[in-house]
């Protein structure tokens, strides 16, 4: 028994099942991060003073650049697959994973720096929301890396059997990854600059 429209789109909606599914998932993620941004707003408006200069703008900016580049390489991976170039697609996917890992390493240094001074999330509401927002974002990065490693490794066999389905999976992973990038695009100025 086959589920229809797993790969080819349904005529009236114009969508394949996975495409609609991933966008709905991203919609729920918007609400998840929305709640944390709402927390940020409420806590900051209610606070008599709000810290500045506690975070490294340099590291934050570097991480922003890294994620933007990883977004480019992610979409390039999909484009290469659509042009039937599997090896290029894999290369771009690998670069995306590497960039994501570098992002996490930078984050590690940032966190370690704060903890070394005894400044964890308990220290202030600013640090509380900073660690929570970036921590949840970091968990999403890890999740993305796991999926990408699967598609690079054991999941890559699908390209031989159903190339279009494989390309779709890369596309959906890409959508998720761009969303993670998008969240950071807002996190960076809100936490580091304002």
């Amino acid at each position: 028994m086959e589920i229809p429209y797993t790969v080819e789109p349904r005529p009236d909606s114009g969508l394949a099942n996975g495409k609609l599914g991933i966008w709905l998932f991203l919609a729920s993620e918007v609400m998840l991060f929305g709640a944390l941004f709402s927390t940020y707003i409420l806590l900051r408006v209610g606070a008599p003073e709000w810290p500045h200069g506690e975070l490294s703008v340099k590291l934050g900016a570097i991480n922003t650049v890294i994620l933007i580049c990883s977004s480019v390489t992610m979409v390039m991976s999909w484009a290469s697959l659509k042009l039937n170039d599997f090896s290029k697609g894999r290369m771009y996917l690998l670069i995306t994973i590497v960039l994501a890992a570098v992002f996490l390493v930078n984050k590690y240094f940032e966190y370690a720096d704060h903890f070394a001074r005894g400044e964890g999330p308990w220290h202030s509401t600013f640090l509380a929301i900073y660690f929570t927002l970036t921590g949840l974002h970091g968990l999403h990065i890890i999740g993305g890396i796991v999926v990408m490693l699967y598609l690079l490794g054991p999941g890559a066999g699908l390209w031989k059997r159903h190339p279009e389905q494989y390309a779709n999976r890369i596309e959906y992973t890409g959508l998720y990854w761009h969303f993670v990038d998008l969240v950071w695009i807002f996190l960076f100025p809100v936490l580091y600059l304002l």
Binding site: M1, E2, I3, P4, Y5, R10, S13, L15, N17, L20, G21, L24, F25, A27, S28, E29, M31, L32, F33, G34, A35, L36, S38, T39, L42, L43, G46, A47, G120, P121, W122, H123, S124, T125, A128, I129, T132, L136
Partner: protein, 590 residues
């Protein structure tokens, strides 16, 4: 279950190489990816949790009827930390209260209404071979199961289960015992399960409808599940976030919800402070208000199906029903602060929420009116499902009407946190939703098992439940109007103004016992009918929607021939037709 040959569903030629191999016991009945098995798993688990939640309530009602008396027979089961000498401690009462609410809402009603009925019926009603993502569906069930285990296990943690209400307001919940952490972890599992399920439902309804099944030909039950899924998808994530924040307050010492200068047991808390307890309330109620529509919408869907079938008439105002339920879903996101009128918000924003709350009653009334008008001029068949569906209408009416003084701030000042609130929401959920769910069980049992439930036992179940449930909840309005506070472990004894209201606790207690006893015929009926119920064929109720074209029970892939839809969902008593029902799937001119 029958193994029925799958035909060419949706016109695709099947190149089966693996689909019909016989699956082992574990893959067939435990880790199944078949929506029907998963639906039954959700339904049975949900029903068991409803029973457990009911038992928690029975313990509470004993304490309220006889405060300070040792619990008879089983009083010794709870240990000295919960009920020394069989006498319930206030802490234990609070655990029972918080967990009764949590279990009934998140482990009982929603899994049964959405996970159970939604999973089993919806793919059949849209003509799909299964859900869009069968493996994800299986995962949703097991994540729910784990969440349920975590919730139950929390009773055994030191200090007992969560005891800060199902609403878990900080700062109390942040300084509460370990059970609250268990609650938060359990909720994260349940919310995740819900999110995965809602994605599956929406994609299935949009993508897997049979040929000819346009949106305006969908059974109203499917519309209800579609809107419900959007509520779950968009409203749950803020509670997930809030749960993480409260976990951090409890475990990492953060102050998201902890205000500055808080003193507990004479000692100032050593936290950074600067947090906002109202932040939790906003994030919680942002979910919890849409959640109550998650509780009622599937019920409205079930009642609609049963009423159409047992009036032998099309539903009155199908379009009005559809537009109303969509509007209701939308509005449910912008009323939440009517649960917070007493928190000191400004009059303008309070007015905003009062207005939206009044507006949201309009689509509810439209839906109720349409269902009532559907009875006009009908040949009503008083089958067991129909009895429950009919009772739903006035019960939901009472529940809805009693919501109005709560939704207006001036009257809410007097009624907030009283038994009036408890009466209101139980009317909508208990003789409301749960009656609709019973209707659904009796109605779709033949489709799931190939046998009908016993009608006499069904009628005893109905009449006994109907009378007792009203005796349980109607007195609560009297108590609430008299000013009796909720969540008081001594039944309100310590306040002089409650003196004349205490007798109702006895009435409610006895009625609750009666209600419990009248569930026995249902439980007996349910299990014995699986083995010995009257055998039926595909369409024992002579209904018109797609699920009745599949075998009872349907096999792998559901439909023997590709389902095609030719008309709307409720073509009953069509003039000139040979029978009083013309199914959606019957070819034209057949």
């Amino acid at each position: 279950m029958d193994k029925v040959e799958t035909g060419t569903a949706h016109g695709h030629a099947h190149a089966h190489d693996h689909a019909h191999e016989e699956l082992g016991f574990w893959r067939k009945y435990v880790f199944s990816v078949d929506h029907k098995v998963i639906g039954i798993q959700y339904a049975i688990t949900g029903l068991l949790f409803l029973l457990f939640g009911f038992c928690l309530m029975m313990l509470m009602r004993f304490q309220l009827a006889y405060p300070g008396h040792p619990i008879p027979v089983i009083g010794g089961w709870f240990g000295a930390d919960k009920a020394p000498g069989g006498i319930m401690l206030p802490e234990f009462y609070n655990q029972l209260g918080a967990m009764h609410g949590t279990i009934m809402v998140f482990l009982g009603v929603v899994p049964l209404a959405v996970g159970g009925f939604g999973n089993f019926v919806m793919p059949l009603q849209v003509g799909a071979p299964d859900m869009a993502f069968p493996k994800l569906n299986m995962m949703s069930y097991w994540v729910y199961f784990v969440g349920g285990v975590v919730m139950l296990a929390s009773f055994f943690l030191p200090g007992g289960a969560a005891q800060s209400g199902w609403t878990s307001y900080p700062p109390l919940s942040v300084i509460a015992t370990l059970g609250q952490t268990g609650w938060l972890v359990g909720m994260i599992f349940l919310i995740t399960s819900s999110l995965l399920g809602s994605i599956n439902f929406i994609v299935t309804i949009v993508q897997l409808r049979a040929k000819g099944l346009s949106y305006m030909r969908l059974p109203f039950f499917v519309w209800a599940q579609l809107v419900t899924s959007f509520l779950l998808l968009l409203a749950f994530p803020p509670l997930e976030a809030a749960g993480v924040l409260q976990l951090m307050d409890r475990l990492a010492g953060t102050s998201f919800f902890m205000p500055s200068g808080l003193v507990v047991s004479g000692r100032p808390l050593t936290v950074s402070g600067g947090g906002n307890p109202l932040l939790w309330q906003h994030l919680f109620w942002f979910l919890a208000h849409p959640e109550v529509y998650v509780l009622i919408l599937p019920a409205m869907g079930i009642v609609s199906e049963v009423i159409a079938n047992n009036t032998r008439k099309p539903l009155w105002g199908y379009r009005a029903l559809v537009y109303s339920i969509i509007f209701l879903g939308f509005m449910s996101f912008i009323v939440w602060a009517h649960h917070m009128f007493m928190t000191g918000m400004g009059t303008s924003i309070s007015a905003f929420f009062q207005v939206t709350t009044m507006i949201i009653s309009i689509p509810s009334v439209v839906i109720l009116t349409a269902l009532l008008l559907s009875l006009w001029g009908a040949s009503i068949r008083f089958t067991t499902p129909m009895l429950f569906a009919l009772a739903f209408l006035p019960m939901f009416g009472i529940g809805g009407l009693t919501g109005l003084p709560l939704g207006l701030a001036p009257s809410d000042i007097h009624l907030h946190d009283t038994y009036y609130v408890i009466g209101h929401f139980h009317y909508v959920v208990a003789p409301g939703t749960i009656f609709a769910l019973f209707a659904g069980v009796y109605y779709w049992f033949p489709k799931a098992t190939g046998r009908k439930m016993n009608d006499l036992l069904g009628k005893i179940h109905f009449w006994g439940s109907f009378i007792c449930i009203n005796l349980v909840f109607m007195p609560m309005f009297i108590q609430g109007l008299g000013g009796m506070n909720r969540r008081m472990y001594d039944g309100g004894m310590q306040y002089a103004h409650n003196a004349g209201l205490l007798k109702w606790n006895l009435v409610i207690g006895f009625a609750a016992w009666g209600l419990g006893l009248f569930q026995l015929p249902f439980i007996l009926n349910f299990f014995s009918s699986i083995k010995w119920g009257a055998v039926v064929d595909r369409n024992p109720w002579e209904a018109t929607t797609l699920e009745w074209s599949a075998p009872s029970p349907p096999g792998h892939g559901n439909f023997v021939t590709e389902p095609i839809v030719y008309r709307g969902p409720y073509e009953y008593s069509v003039p000139g037709a040979a029978t009083d029902f013309t199914p959606q799937f019957e070819p034209k001119g057949a």
